[in-house]
């Protein structure tokens, strides 16, 4: 490998002083935002589940950073990933720590403007900005990054980040249900397995892989239990559940499962006591579209749940939310090759990312939305898109057509990584919720 610090393909030269200043400023804002968000969540639901305490703590980046640092001291490796197609089970089986490194900092996206034009998706720009000033602890601690070439932004993001960290690109086929796609993807999975083994020095044996798969299956079980609890009257605020889902991206998975199960136990008790988080007739909203990433990009959920009239998020179709863990790895026989096949299929075929198409277009996503709307009793859908997220924006027309036929209102909410449009968005969201509650009254 060539000396990376010498030659940078994309990143501009910034003086160390500027980096430090920027990092200090943005970290301070970030800490404030984290505290503020949690404060708001506590206020919205005065008798918030006690088990949420743990997730509040882990949502603060410093806590988990310390743990990962300690683990790294003991020789563990950290492998970051941008899209959720990265095979977490393989990382776990090699005794490494998987973390997702997409950035949700608004201020960092301004820094990203120095490298890529403003038309580019802010998630990508923000991640570039975060790397520039070493803002995200998880991105900094990663020994390698897995970049899955899903949308255009992610494809180039991996290339840009390779200025700092080794990046393993996995090219994902765009047609997901053909035999040749599966062959390519299995080869990619096998190659990344080799790379993980080379980095960590641990050979992935079928025994370890089996226990890793079982670990994530258990996490899926806890995860689905939580989502199922949101089917009935709102027993947990949408933001709280979203935070729980989100912390999976960087938390210790075993502990996360335990804590989520504890949360579900508490919620089940509340269901039997009919102790609701908000009035049961609150409009039930689902959000779909671009990933929303903690801490800054918490704008839309906060607006929905603090609007007047209030709404409650009961489901989502976000790759930072319910799509993270909804699909389990289903293994037929516990042999190495079958486990690898199962992992490959789970990540490629079960995904509803709009970067795919097939004979029927991205039919799976439509089916997901329909299923959620029926099972979770959704009254309105917010189609959330950040400027520059082409794939989600382009699929809107199709989704709207389908939902119109079902007479489920859908609202296209486009925004940016900025705090400036909160006031204007508040008006829009409130108008939408007003309409929803009027519909419910009828």
């Amino acid at each position: 490998m060539k000396n990376k610090s010498e030659e940078k393909k994309y990143m501009p030269e910034i003086s160390q002083k500027e980096i430090d200043e920027l990092r200090k400023a943005i970290t301070a804002t970030s800490q404030r935002v984290v505290a503020e968000n949690i404060e708001k969540m506590k206020k919205a639901d005065p008798n918030r589940p006690e088990a949420m305490q743990y997730f509040d703590e882990i949502a603060d980046f410093a806590t988990r950073e310390k743990e990962i640092r300690a683990a790294k001291q003991e020789g563990k490796k950290v492998i970051g990933y941008m899209c959720l197609f990265a095979p977490t089970e393989l990382i776990l089986a090699a005794d490494a720590i998987p973390v997702r490194v997409n950035s949700g900092w608004y201020d960092a996206s301004k820094l990203g403007d120095r490298v890529v034009p403003v038309e580019v998706c802010p998630v990508v720009r923000s991640t570039i900005g975060a790397k520039m000033i070493a803002l995200s602890p998880y991105l900094e601690l990663s020994d390698a990054l897995i970049s899955v070439l899903t949308c255009d932004g992610m494809t180039k993001l991996g290339e840009i980040l390779s200025d700092y960290t080794p990046v393993w690109a996995m090219s994902i086929p765009r047609v997901k249900d053909s035999a040749q796609s599966m062959r390519l993807w299995i080869e990619e999975i096998k190659s990344v397995k080799g790379q993980i083994e080379a980095l960590t020095g641990n050979k992935i044996k079928s025994k370890q892989l089996k226990s890793a798969i079982e670990l994530t299956q258990k996490a899926t079980k806890a995860f689905r239990r939580l989502q199922d609890l949101r089917k009935g009257s709102p027993v947990i605020m949408g933001r709280d559940a979203m935070l729980v889902n989100q912390t999976y991206m960087w938390d210790n998975i075993e502990r996360w499962t335990e804590k989520t199960e504890a949360l579900c136990d508490e919620l089940e008790k509340r269901v039997s006591q009919k102790n609701w988080a908000c009035p049961p007739d609150t409009p039930r909203v689902m959000v779909t579209g671009t990933p929303m990433i903690w801490p800054d990009n918490w704008k839309v959920p906060t607006l929905v749940e603090e609007a007047n009239p209030q709404g409650v998020l009961v489901a989502d179709e976000l790759c930072s939310g319910e799509r993270l863990l909804y699909d389990p790895v289903g293994v037929d026989e516990w042999s190495m090759s079958d486990m690898l096949n199962a992992i490959a299929e789970r990540y490629l075929m079960a995904s509803t990312c709009p970067c795919f198409t097939s004979e029927d277009g991205n039919e799976d996503r439509i089916n997901w939305l329909l299923n959620k709307i029926k099972e979770w009793n959704i009254q309105g859908v917010i189609y959330y898109v950040v400027r520059g997220c082409m794939l989600y924006a382009m699929e809107y027309t199709r989704v709207k057509k389908v939902l119109d036929r079902m007479s489920v209102p859908v609202y296209y909410l486009d925004t940016e990584y900025t705090r400036e449009d909160v006031g204007q968005m508040k008006t829009r969201v409130e108008a939408f919720l007003e309409m929803l509650s009027a519909r419910i009254d009828i």
């Binding site: 689905r224 239990r225 579900c264 026989e333 096949n341 075929m349 089916n367 997901w368 329909l370």
Partner: protein, 330 residues
């Protein structure tokens, strides 16, 4: 005679009742097993093998067996193949050995699989026609309808054997030309293989052919799951109602898919022992395919609640669960 018959039926009823009671006890005792259909299927297969053994000792067994195989599919499709056929149990047992020695199964290319699937009809016809060809080669004195019917139903080659070939399992005693230290080969289809090869080859070769056949089916089912089911001529007679879309209404037992709950994760396609792709490919509603043996492995493994269902006459008897056990909500 009638008293004997009643006595036999009583014996069978008692046997079936005891076995079912045994299954129930095991299921209740080991609660976890109740959710695992594969175990249940194994038990049913063992029970049916015992039942077949009894049927063979029974004076009119052939008739009963034939009625069962010819009538069952009208209601249940290839349920017989998945759950009752003793040869399938034999292949599943070999699969268990393969799993124990940790060898990965091979997957046949879809095209070959479809070809084998169509080949069964050819095999079926060939076996039906052979006796007539042989008769024509060596014509008997009179060739009337009665002779022809006798050829079809009994005759030296008994083409109907092919219909009951796979249910002559290892345990049914039989006296054939091939014996190793006094134990006759009673292997599915071996009788047919011997009968038909006797016509062309000398007796030494017949034994060798029978042995080769046994070895091939053993190795085949070791590497390919349920290899025989893919081109079993018996299956062709059984599955004929499932084959055509116009007969969609016919089988009482079928697999039903809810398209909206399906994320096309592909698990159903991968776990299927006979590599049926229709469950994955079809849009939803009743699954029509004559390849499916209704073993319900896909329903068992599907991780989305209510997505796949086994319906018996419109009533759901078994459905895919969130196999990670969902919580109950109000």
């Amino acid at each position: 005679m009638i008293m004997e018959l009643i006595g036999e039926i009583l014996k069978l009823t008692v046997l079936a009742g005891l076995t079912l009671a045994g299954i129930l006890v095991i299921l209740i005792w080991k609660k976890g097993l109740a959710t695992k259909v594969t175990y249940l299927r194994f038990l049913v297969q063992v029970v049916s093998m015992v039942a077949v053994f009894y049927l063979f000792t029974y004076p009119v067994w052939q008739l009963i067996v034939l009625i069962v195989i010819l009538v069952l599919p009208l209601f249940l499709g290839r349920f017989f193949c998945g759950w009752l056929c003793p040869f399938a149990l034999y292949m599943d047992a070999i699969t268990l050995i393969r799993k124990a020695v940790k060898v990965r199964y091979r997957i046949l290319p879809d095209k070959l699989n479809k070809f084998l699937h169509n080949l069964r009809y050819v095999l079926f016809l060939v076996f039906l026609i052979i006796p007539f060809v042989l008769v024509l080669l060596d014509p008997p004195s009179s060739l009337d309808l009665a002779t022809l019917l006798a050829l079809l139903l009994s005759g030296p080659f008994e083409p109907l054997r092919i219909l009951i070939g796979p249910i002559i399992p290892l345990i049914v005693s039989w006296e054939g030309p091939l014996a190793i230290s006094g134990v006759y080969f009673s292997y599915p289809y071996v009788q047919e293989v011997i009968l038909y090869s006797e016509v062309v080859f000398s007796e030494v070769f017949v034994n060798i052919i029978a042995l080769v056949f046994v070895a091939l089916t053993f190795v085949g089912s070791f590497f390919v799951r349920r290899v025989w089911c893919r081109f079993c001529p018996t299956g062709s007679s059984i599955a004929v109602v499932n084959r055509f879309k116009g007969f969609k209404w016919a089988p009482l037992l079928h697999i039903d898919k809810d398209e909206e709950k399906c994320t096309k994760c592909g698990i159903c396609k991968r776990v299927c022992p006979v590599q049926v792709t229709e469950v994955y490919e079809q849009k939803g509603g009743k699954i029509t395919t004559s390849m499916c043996t209704l073993c319900t492995r896909c329903v068992e493994m599907c991780p989305y609640e209510d997505c796949l269902k086994v319906k018996l006459g419109g009533k759901t008897v078994f459905k895919s669960r969130n196999w990670l056990e969902p919580s109950t909500t109000e």
